[in-house]
């Protein structure tokens, strides 16, 4: 067992404790970025001017009339940018665009003494546009060959040969929808500049270091002149990994130009219309099965809807390709990927980061082929599970494949699945107007950033003379309980009670060059860095204690606020030891660092072992569908999920439940609609408010919701034997969609095959019920063909492979330096 994963006796990790800020949350005193507004004297408010076209040239921008509106202080435009006019890392996201690339894009920002003044000012700005043709749907993009970025291919074996010899070959298509993050706290930044020109931005960001870099390059400053702090976020879910940067930069630009603090907070409608979402995908596939239903080959082409700029579309696509196998062994595989360029918001990271989309493709294939093969879907799934020793299509051994089976078997038994399946059959036989179904699906999800360089983290741990401890680390708190876990890790590593440790807000001047708190990696990376820092301090204290107690350093035990030797009286209180160490001039703080070992990934070849380990889980969901309307409810959900040895069980169960319900929302209610008509509002987001975009409410919670963490699941080589938890449970919700499909088919005779659009709204389910009763093909679905197969489009040989982001970052820095030398240059790089 590795040093990193070994737990001492009486650890604070593993205790089920509430969120460290729970008391602040429930009393309303926890501060979020916008709560600073009322506490900041003389603050200005920013409001955007949003373009009423999906694609247009800005032919004239006249800000004069806005300046005549009482309370308007300044209008920020491209001409004001001293550095690079770009809010992204790929050089394709002008902050103040000369060409509008999506409906509602901000062309300039108005600063006012009040938000009302800034809003009225934004209405007074005169902008002339020359409308241009716009591509809205991913299918339009495919027809018009509108793509961006690299087009990766993941390939193993000889798919064409395997399909030629397969007893059963099917082909089909799947259009799967995107998803709005709908973090309850919208994007927000508060910026000010101090007397020495130091820029301080408080931002609701998952990636403070990158926010800092972008603020610096927009302002033409070096990184050391910009500090970014994130107090906490009111939800992130990936939506604050890249998207906050531009807003932070606008606020910082306003602050540097006016000398006054500036607040930029998006309203819900602005947030919905301006910021990126989960990528919708279009998938074409052919799959071959043997006579027993074993998968022989999969040929698929995934086209993601990237929106107007690249953002994180390439790594999202890479993860989708790497998860198209989910938990299944597929001997011969070819998956092509490409990113469509459409005139919509720039789609971005969202919990699962392409994994859900890739996994939905294979689960859709299995769910649709099972009745055609005459095999129960649960049996078909289980029959195709990975066995130990097998490798993923990209060549990584599937370690702990038996844990997927363990989760699956436990759900079957604790969920009483066999008995309930019989009850469901009896219910359906006696209820013509409502049908029930139970579906079980597995999850295998790779943990680590695909891009190896991001798998590093830092921490700064201070022990003060009185023995109290202050922890800084590079991760951000968005509700996932990272800070709670870090407190537990620090208390365990130092052997002190939890109350002795405090956590400071995340700041770039405490821990530099951090990675995004993303990819579920926050606790793995930052936990190891915190532990490393604590161990440095403990190592020094051992020497002091050894001398004081007369015990060899290795025989000392740090626990519960005491340092003890083997003997009864060989003990010293932590605080006393710390005080003594100070007098002896021993350094009582340390910077910790961690990098994940053993990762390698060739993004051009799509080969390697990009993941430290896999997370596993299984969910069984029972639904009831009303045949009159397609309305449904979740009757019962049973989940067993593998989080290793949990660092914090209350937090981890909360992540599993919350991820599941969010995934269920993606696959059922949440329905992003864009105006696809040829009218004047083509490209407008039609669901740009909370009243038109519906997330799950309390009424969508399953009536019975049982979540268990897999026991005896120690993960070697990870901090205190734990595993990541943020993203993997989201994909357990695929069981909801599969259950709805099965319930809809139950309205037809046994063996009925239905197609189900995604998201499976009540309307979509209604059309599937109609199909089961002999109706037409449901809208937004394409029938599965058997035998005579459609071959997925194969992007040409000239397609560019994915570029690792490190190369792009380096290139951006060169652009930044050039821009600094010649401040007038800007625009799209």
């Amino acid at each position: 067992m590795s040093e990193l994963s070994l737990r001492p006796a009486d650890p604070v990790v593993g205790q089920a404790i509430p969120h460290e800020s729970a008391g602040l949350h429930v009393t309303g005193v926890a501060l979020y970025t916008d709560d600073l507004t009322v506490r900041t004297r003389g603050i200005l408010h920013a409001h955007p001017v949003q373009a009423p076209h999906a694609h247009a040239k800005v032919t004239r921008l006249h800000t004069g009339p806005a300046l005549g509106v009482p309370g308007v202080v300044r209008v920020l435009t491209a001409a004001d940018v001293p550095g690079v006019n770009d809010g992204g890392v790929k050089g394709d996201e002008p902050l103040f665009p000369s060409e509008v690339m999506f409906f509602g894009q901000a062309v300039c920002w108005v600063l006012g003494e009040t938000l009302e003044a800034a809003r009225l000012g934004s209405l007074a700005v005169e902008v002339d546009y020359e409308p241009l043709p716009a591509i809205i749907t991913v299918r339009e993009a495919i027809e018009r060959d509108s793509f961006q970025g690299g087009a990766p291919r993941l390939e193993r074996g000889d798919v064409d040969h395997a399909l030629a010899g397969a007893p059963h070959v099917f082909s089909g298509e799947l259009d799967l929808a995107g998803q709005e993050h709908f973090y309850l706290e919208t994007q927000c930044a508060v910026a000010h500049v101090d007397e020495a020109g130091q820029v301080f931005v408080q931002s609701s960001t998952q990636h403070p270091s990158e926010t800092q870099e972008i603020v610096a390059h927009v302002l033409g400053l070096s990184s050391h002149a910009v500090t970014v702090q994130c107090l906490r976020m009111g939800g992130g879910f990936g939506g604050k990994e890249m998207q906050p940067h531009g807003y932070a930069a606008v606020a910082a630009l306003g602050a540097s130009l006016t000398g006054r603090p500036v607040r930029l907070r998006l309203t819900r409608s602005q947030d919905l219309t301006l910021t990126g979402k989960r990528h919708g995908f279009h998938a074409q596939w052919r799959a071959g099965f043997d006579a027993d239903g074993r998968l022989l080959a999969l040929d698929a082409t995934l086209t993601s809807d990237g929106g107007w700029s690249l953002d994180l579309s390439e790594p999202v696509l890479a993860r989708a390709l790497c998860h198209v196998d989910n938990a299944y062994w597929i001997p011969d595989v070819r998956v092509n990927g490409r990113v469509a360029l459409t005139h919509k918001t720039s789609q971005t990271a969202f919990r699962g980061f392409g994994g859900p989309q890739g996994m939905l493709v294979i689960e859709d294939v299995i769910g649709r082929c099972a009745p055609r093969l005459g095999i129960d879907p649960a049996v078909l799934r289980r029959r195709n599970f990975y066995a130990s020793g097998q490798e993923t299509p990209y060549g990584q051994p599937v370690r702990h494949a038996e844990r997927a089976i363990a989760c699956w078997e436990q759900v079957l038994s604790t969920g009483d699945v066999a008995q309930r399946s019989a009850q469901i059959a009896a219910y359906n036989a006696s209820h013509p107007h409502t049908k029930r179904a139970l579906a079980i699906t597995p999850v295998k999800f790779g943990i680590s950033f695909n891009f190896t360089a991001f798998n590093q983290a830092g921490a700064l741990v201070h022990v003060y003379k009185d023995g109290s401890v202050l922890v800084n680390h590079g991760g951000t708190e968005m509700g996932q309980g990272l800070h709670t876990k870090m407190l537990q890790v620090a208390a365990t590593s130092l052997g002190v009670p939890l109350e002795s440790v405090r956590l400071a807000p995340t700041r770039t001047d405490k821990v530099p060059n951090t990675s995004a708190t993303a990819a579920s990696s926050g606790a793995d990376l930052n936990g190891a860095a915190v532990k490393n820092a604590c161990e440095q301090v403990v190592g020094r204290l051992r020497v002091v204690a050894s001398a004081r107690l007369g015990v060899p350093p290795d025989e000392l035990h740090f626990s519960g606020g005491f340092v003890r030797g083997p003997g009864e009286d060989q003990s010293v209180a932590w605080a006393d030891l710390v005080a003594e160490a100070y007098v002896q001039r021993v350094q009582l703080w340390a910077a910790g660092f961690y990098r994940t070992e053993g990762l390698h990934w060739d993004s051009a070849a799509m080969e390697g072992s990009p993941f430290k380990y896999f997370s596993y889980g299984a969910a069984a969901t029972e639904v009831e569908v009303d045949g009159f309307t397609g309305a449904y409810r979740l009757l019962r959900v049973d989940i067993v999920h593998d989080v290793g040895d949990s660092l914090s069980p209350l937090i981890d169960i909360g992540q599993v439940e919350g991820g599941f319900v969010q995934g269920a929302g993606w696959l059922t209610l949440e329905d992003l609609r864009w105006d696809e008509s040829g009218g004047p509002t083509r490209g407008r987001l039609a669901t740009a408010s909370a009243s038109t975009y519906k997330l799950p409410s309390l009424s969508e919670m399953p009536d019975v919701f049982n979540v268990a963490l897999l026991e005896r699941a120690h993960e070697d080589g990870v901090v205190y034997g734990s595993k990541a938890v943020g993203e993997p449970p989201l994909m357990l919700a695929i069981s909801v969609r599969e259950a709805l499909r099965q319930a809809a088919s139950a309205f037809g005779p046994a063996g009925t095959v239905v197609d189900l659009a995604s998201p499976a709204t009540p309307e979509a389910v209604f059309w599937s019920v109609r199909q089961a009763r002999g109706g037409e093909q449901p809208p937004h679905t394409v029938p599965v063909l058997e035998g005579v197969c459609v071959v997925p489009e194969q992007p040409g040989a000239g397609a560019r492979p994915l570029q690792p982001r490190s190369e792009q970052v380096a290139q951006d820095e060169r652009v930044g330096q050039v821009a600094q030398a010649a401040p007038s240059s800007g625009g799209r790089g």
Partner: protein, 496 residues
Amino acid sequence: MTAEQPHTAQHHTVRVNGADRSLSGVEPATNALDWLRGQGLTGAKEGCAEGECGACAVLVARSDGATGTEWTALNACLVPAAALDGQEVVTAEGLGTPTRLHPVQHEMAVRGGSQCGYCTPGFVCSMAAEYYRDGRVAAARPAGPGAHALQACGPNGFDLEALSGNLCRCTGYRPIRDAAWALGEPRADDPLAVRRAGSPPEATATRLEGRSGTYARPADLAEALALLAEHPEAVLVAGSTDRGVEVNLRGARSPFVIGIDRLPELRGLTVTTDAVEIGAALTLTEVERALAGRVPLLDEVFPQFASRLIRNGATIGGNIGTGSPIGDLPPALLALEAVVVLVGAEGEREVAMADYFTGYRQSVRRADELVRAVRIPLPLAGTTAFHKIAKRRFDDISSVAVAFALDVVDGVVQRARIGLGGVAATPVRALATEAALEGRAWSADTVQTASEVMETEGTPLDDHRASAAYRRAVLGTALQRLHAETAADAVGATHE
């Protein structure tokens, strides 16, 4: 919090968490949320600014329908701050502190009810309102094994409906439900519990002048009509659940706003042998309580109408006054053959609900009139039902709403009244379907024929909520569903 005497109205102040705060200079468009946050009380949050997410929920002292006070949760983002003049408000900060948590806060904290915490103060306020609901514990009954989440009361009588207007994106709700169901009874000396025995704050007449306009709350109907005559451009606001959205999201502003939600003449509810008359300024929560099951069709509507937070503010008159084509009450009122009582300078007039709407958000109401009451004739039809077709069970806007009121005597449909929402520019009666039913046997054959007629009612549109084809299809299945349900009732079958 300290136990308070009933608030003696000082002009232009709100008692917030036990301390008076001045409203002077507040603009008519400033909502209570922005005002509270500007006061430094940043616990209440803006999540949507349209009453959908509940992150802004606060507690307001309101009449309990008798002589006492009820802590009522409202969306602060929708209520004009000026409308709180003379009222009492409690926010999450006022319920407890991190070192002295309120029982609701304690349960939410220890059970993992907060993750990011942003929605939490709003949940806490909604939960506290239900915690303090009079008779909650007394009415407690164990939730059955197949209990529907929609109606489920916990073992402590806690009705989850109370949380229907609060959204959480993190937890998946299970720990929030567990927190709600773990609550005990308030202690006898709990100051907010004690406050319930006192009178609610009076709704005094007021007039607040801001830079951009005026908010006036007249003392009585006569003054309201006079103000309306004097300011024909004035906007009438009751619960502000619709107007607040216009103000927040679409920049609607008005130099003169008249608050009519507390006019005594608009707040009566009378039952005679001929009719039930419901005052226009009663909130839907108040109507539900005062009717006490007298109109079963409305009892089907209420739980499906928006959320508890909205129903605590929204009035029956406002739902008619805004003239939305998909407001859920008008289809029901059409089926009930209700009459709208309008009052103006020239006196009262009555308009049948079926004649009230003239176009999209247009009605026969003149600018100098307001809705005083809605009258529902008695006796009621024997078979009534309300079908709301929407994506979400709590707090959604209907794609289609169908209200049925049928009299079936000896197996024959004597009389049929069907109101539809979401299929035309206004709520409409399904006249052709009614004709296809009346005088015929209430049978599968009749239903089949009438369903085909019903599919052709109205002119449904394609939009982001539903396709026109789906709207038509569910119009067609609505009668079949009603028939299946009434048949099931007739044979005494139960739903599992």
